[in-house]
Symmetry: C2
Subunit: 404 residues, 2 copies
């Protein structure tokens, strides 16, 4: 008989929100045309991505819609959506009896589509419903929404929030959020990602990995988010370097990245995020710098700091350290066995993230005009979200200073 | 820098149906009372389980519903639901403007509630909509449905089908199935499972483990079902022996079993099942024997046969063998590294399942009146479902003969 030492980690109570109906695989964009009739014949499509247009995909979509006599409007989203953009679109289409909203593009576009689908049924500005900005709560009533990502990054195709940004001195980056805003359907077609340029692939891939890692070590996590985050990290860690080099045109590599990004959306929606995303909100409100770049450039430093502070905590930090070590072991296809290996695998995690920062040539914040004098204000406005350990302002400042 | 050999397994295209809104944790039955107002004030409750009644839980529920002036009807389900039971209930409540159906009990009860919620809006018999029996397809229109399991077994709280049985010489065990029949909400409260007797805990736990294993090795699996099935098997394998012995009253143990059963429902709904469930359909239609007992008693023998036939296939069987070996490694908290370890971990898997069969004293089929002469007919009516390898009638016969 097989002997086994049983070590249970008690499962804490949890809720798990619904996930979209997922249609995943190369060429699956085609399924979109089969789905339309289920919702109605009057469609609003948010589209961004010069890359989608450059490679002829958008023309192809339009010609199919015309062939099928589907009545559609399209709007273009060229940067992270602002309240003004959403309000303008919602107002324009409020009277047009839209049956379905579709967002095809990167995170900005899929978030914009999500916000528009939620604001068409409301009479007023999205500002009134943004967390930390408005004083109204969205009730979840919306036009059905299909998200089709063209980057492997935010996982917005599976989340319940849309991030809205106003950039500038009084800028902010805040969420419209409701369980019911999870897209009705997410179509993930890795063929749409083949044309994504290297720098965006790297930034988006690091954003997704950050979300998976932060969800995995979050105290709000549960066994479902743990299993899915771990699976997502396995695929992204094996493919992020190839996706940004020799494997950029390899559909298998792009498929793995797309899967990891999808998992990051599902897990962050249910387990929350940590200090990297706390800093990203603060930085993104004030500086024009892509979200993925902020996350990617900060992840290694933030992880080092979290591990250091957790180690200082002694026994209280052990559980979260163990989870970091599990990720480290995964990165070299190993498995953590016992507490004696925690140090070793935490080092592997840090070493790997550092090497990605080098190999992927992740830009520093300084490249986008952020200076040392800006750091105090950034830290002041940064929340910890569901970080696995409490960090002092000094700790957080150190993270940022190392990436100026 | 860390060197890593990258071995991708190509992710095939997949769809993933929705999952219920999950409310999980000890004491969470209470959330039910908060949810009622969202659906309406006219509730139909399907309840079974003498154990629920014996331990006072049912009286407690009734008194809370009365306190809150919630108008409810209740029906009792005492065995696997028949077409006659569903038709009778659907007809009785068709005119009563039911806003919500709730099923509290084992798999028979949660399946009965699911079927009733789907048949109230239809004018005719469920027989017309059963797979392989009727010639109509259910359109998914139903009364909203909340499933609350009191055993850790079928995972019916997360599946899109209700199993309906007619027992006897022309009997059958067939499904009413539609994506939209996935319960709107699943409340999993392990406190409700503490009073579940040992023999039922063992049979249900083995049913759940069978579902997880069959989904994990199914060719229809995808990385999401893989991750969740693996996670479910981890928790069940660590707790099934304690749950049936010294840990029967331990809420941590019961919580782990409940989690594993929930995962089994989610994964089987998306990845399908194998030969054990093919046999369970055939046996369950003709003999009065609990579904969990059939699965539990056949799993070790069926797994041995699958591994043997896969080994005979040479390279073609490698991928599925690897997945069996991954489960074997999990069972001793290890991780498969390379093809050289496949034999070793497949043996661990077989050895562990054999030891569970012994320790849990799983009944043979003979105990329920099945004789050697019945086996040919059982095999004739048994489908392979999504078994990882094709088995001959002789192979299937061997599986059953070893458990008469």
């Amino acid at each position: 008989m097989i002997e086994r030492v049983v070590i249970n980690v008690m499962i804490q109570s949890f809720n798990f929100a619904r996930i979209p109906h997922i249609i995943f695989g190369a060429g699956k964009l085609r399924e979109l045309y089969k789905i339309f009739p289920k919702f109605g014949n009057n469609i609003l499509i948010a589209v961004g991505g010069s890359s989608l247009k450059r490679y002829g995909k958008w023309d192809e979509i339009i010609s199919i819609l015309e062939d099928k006599s589907i009545n559609f409007f399209s709007i273009s989203v060229s940067s992270e959506p602002s309240p003004a953009l959403i309000d303008e679109c919602a107002q324009e289409f409020r009277s047009k009896n839209i049956d379905l909203v579709v967002g095809i593009g990167g995170g900005s576009v899929t978030d914009a589509g999500k916000a528009i689908s939620a604001m068409i049924p409301k009479p007023d500005s999205i500002k009134n419903y943004l967390e930390g900005i408005g004083n109204k709560t969205h009730d979840g009533k919306k036009i059905p929404y299909i998200a089709i990502p063209t980057t492997s990054g935010t996982g917005s195709e599976a989340t319940k929030n849309a991030v809205i940004s106003e950039v500038g001195p009084n800028g902010f980056k805040k969420s419209l959020r409701h369980d019911n805003l999870i897209p009705n359907v997410a179509i993930i077609d890795p063929e749409l990602m083949i044309s994504c340029p290297t720098s965006i692939t790297a930034a988006c891939g690091m954003d997704a990995f950050t979300q998976l890692l932060e969800a995995y070590v979050s105290p709000k996590g549960n066994p479902i988010t743990d299993a899915l985050a771990f699976s997502g990290m396995e695929y992204i860690s094996r493919n992020i370097i190839p996706a940004c080099s020799s494997g950029a045109s390899n559909i298998e590599v792009r498929t793995s990245m797309a899967y990891g990004a999808l998992m990051s959306g599902i897990t962050l929606a249910n387990a929350g995020l940590g200090v990297v995303h706390g800093l990203a909100s603060s930085i993104g409100g004030e500086f024009k710098i892509p979200h993925g770049v902020v996350c990617g450039t900060l992840l290694a430093e933030a992880t080092k700091m979290n591990i250091k502070v957790l180690e200082e905590q002694g026994p209280a930090g052990k559980r979260a350290l163990k989870k970091h070590a599990e990720i480290g072991a995964l990165l070299i296809d190993d498995k953590l066995k016992g507490e004696g290996q925690i140090d070793k695998y935490c080092s592997v995690l840090i070493e790997t993230l550092d090497s990605w920062t080098q190999i992927l040539k992740l830009d520093t914040l300084g490249k986008f005009g952020i200076e040392k004098d800006d750091v105090d204000k950034i830290v002041e406005n940064a929340g910890l979200k569901n970080n696995p350990v409490s960090l002092s302002k000094e700790n957080i400042k150190n993270i940022v200073m190392n990436r100026i």
